[in-house]
């Protein structure tokens, strides 16, 4: 269950990463289609990362001499990670929901006061969550997998950003 929840959070993170790297790179007014496309890219990115993580987990599990213990250890580590990730996700989603309030001041405030800083601390939250999750792990496989997945998730936004920047450079070259 904890692993499944982490997977859902990874997809959500990918979705938001996709939107974030697309922001400020298109100047049309009606952006719904643009952002949907960007979010799908983020979602696909997160799915690729999750698939790689699942493959790594599978391989380690096959090679492990204590498969059942590893599974329990992974579940426990995932459960601890959720103590960090779930409140963070709730804060982000809560602020996105707050933007439904029809007040320009409240909407702006969610951006400036909350979503901006929450974006800034995203890498730190990821590191803190994974380190807390694996801190009490009994098996080295769990710790190694945790760090591997952390590296994958941190590189997701970098990769999406790189792709978006390349596309933007192409557009600018075509324009001017």
């Amino acid at each position: 269950m904890s692993l499944l929840l982490l997977y859902v959070l990874a997809l959500l993170d990918g979705l938001l990463c996709g939107a974030r790297v697309a922001m400020g790179r298109s100047a049309v007014i009606r952006k719904r289609a643009y952002y949907v496309h960007a979010q799908i890219k983020g979602l696909v990115g997160a799915q690729i990362v999750s698939t790689i993580a699942l493959c790594a987990l599978f391989l380690v599990s096959i090679e492990s001499a204590h498969r059942l213990a590893l599974r329990a250890d992974l579940e426990a580590a995932a459960g601890r990670m959720l103590w960090v990730f779930l409140p963070y996700a709730a804060l982000v989603l809560g602020n996105i929901v707050l933007r439904l309030v029809p007040s320009t001041d409240i909407r702006s405030a969610t951006s400036v006061m909350m979503l901006g800083p929450l974006t800034a601390i995203r890498p730190l939250v990821m590191i803190a969550g994974v380190l807390y999750g694996i801190s009490k792990s009994a098996l080295w496989e769990t710790r190694a997998l945790g760090l591997f997945i952390l590296a994958l998730m941190l590189s997701l936004e970098l990769a999406l950003n790189f792709l978006a920047a390349r596309q933007q450079a192409r557009e600018l070259n075509a324009l001017l």
Binding site: M23, G24, R25, S26, A27, V28, I29, R30, T104, D105, R107, S108, S111, V112, G116, P117, T119, A120, A165, Q168, L172, N173, L175, L176
Partner: protein, 311 residues
């Protein structure tokens, strides 16, 4: 003081793009000349940003500068979107339009967006408001031809009913009834600020709305954090924060407007968030012909509390 926040210096974008004041023809800009200005202020952040700009034989490459400016304006639009700037402008503009209509003016109202850049405000209005029903014609004016081209391209892409022109917004052929701007007036310093306001003294102009950063003790720090998070280009990160540091306070704005435009009643709108002492990021210099003021107050309704002293 942090050198990059010194309000006495110009912004990078003020210097890397130069036009002939009369013909508006683009002038070559020497990189060393720009670097020398910021070296004089000990502004290493600006120097690093300028050093990274491509040049040919010491002259900044026009195409690269245009690409940088367009990319920067795309990013700036994102900030405007986050601040719901279009909504804020329309919330005030529609009351101004209603005021002018009540005075008996029936012709199409021409709204001129001064220093429009890529025309976010105008395009937002055209995309979100039934301008024809209100009898409004929106045009944007800018001195940068690359930005004007981009504004027109974007408007055409979304089939928006607004137009952008390269030229002087106050010239007889482009003038309008209501002038508005966003983040423009802090570029006019000292005597130039009064000169800018004096140019509103044309018989056809009813009113103006000039939006700009509101200076406060925490504004540069807040702006630094926000631009650090949101902007990608070094020039935008630098200029965004410097804009907040250079922004005119309410007193400077209203004094300049009142002394330059005695026919207009001027004041600040929206300085505080609700009824708290917390300052809004942007405040608005509002000016309108004196006979329109009583009706404008009526039109503001519950928003009247946001309007400062008008005289």
């Amino acid at each position: 003081m942090i050198a990059a926040w010194n309000p006495a210096q110009p912004e990078i974008t003020d210097l890397i793009l130069q036009h002939h004041p009369q013909t508006l023809e683009r002038l070559p800009v020497r990189k060393d000349d720009v670097l020398r200005v910021f070296s004089g202020y000990g502004n290493l952040q600006a120097c690093r940003a300028i050093a990274g700009l491509p040049d040919k034989d010491g002259v900044l490459e026009e195409r690269a500068i245009d690409q940088l400016l367009v990319a920067t304006h795309w990013e700036m639009q994102r900030l405007a979107e986050e601040f719901y700037h279009g909504h804020r402008v329309w919330d005030l503009l529609r009351r101004l339009v209603a005021t002018i209509r009540k005075s008996g003016f029936r012709e199409t109202l021409r709204v001129v967006d001064v220093g429009c850049g890529i025309g976010y405000t105008s395009r937002w209005l055209a995309a979100s408001v039934p301008l024809a029903e209100y009898g409004i014609d929106v045009v944007g004016m800018d001195l940068n031809s690359a930005l004007v081209r981009e504004a027109n391209r974007l408007a055409a892409l979304e089939k928006l009913n607004c137009h952008f022109f390269h030229g002087d917004a106050f010239s007889p052929e482009h003038s309008g009834h209501i002038f508005l701007s966003t983040g423009v007036i802090h570029h006019f310093r000292g005597k130039a600020l009064g000169d800018f306001f004096r140019r509103h003294e044309r018989p056809e102009i009813f009113a103006f709305l000039h939006y700009d950063f509101q200076p406060s003790v925490i504004a540069p720090l807040g702006s630094w954090f926000f631009h650090y998070l949101r902007m990608r280009t070094a020039v935008a990160k630098h200029d965004g924060v410097l804009s907040a540091a250079r922004a005119h306070n309410a007193r400077t704005l209203v004094e300049a407007a009142r002394s330059s435009l005695p026919e207009f009643a001027s004041g600040i709108y929206g300085a505080k968030i609700w009824k708290t002492p917390a300052p809004r990021v942007f405040h608005t210099l509002v000016g309108l012909r004196r006979p329109l003021l009583p009706e404008f107050r009526q039109q503001l309704g519950a928003r009247l509390g946001r309007l400062g002293e008008m005289r």
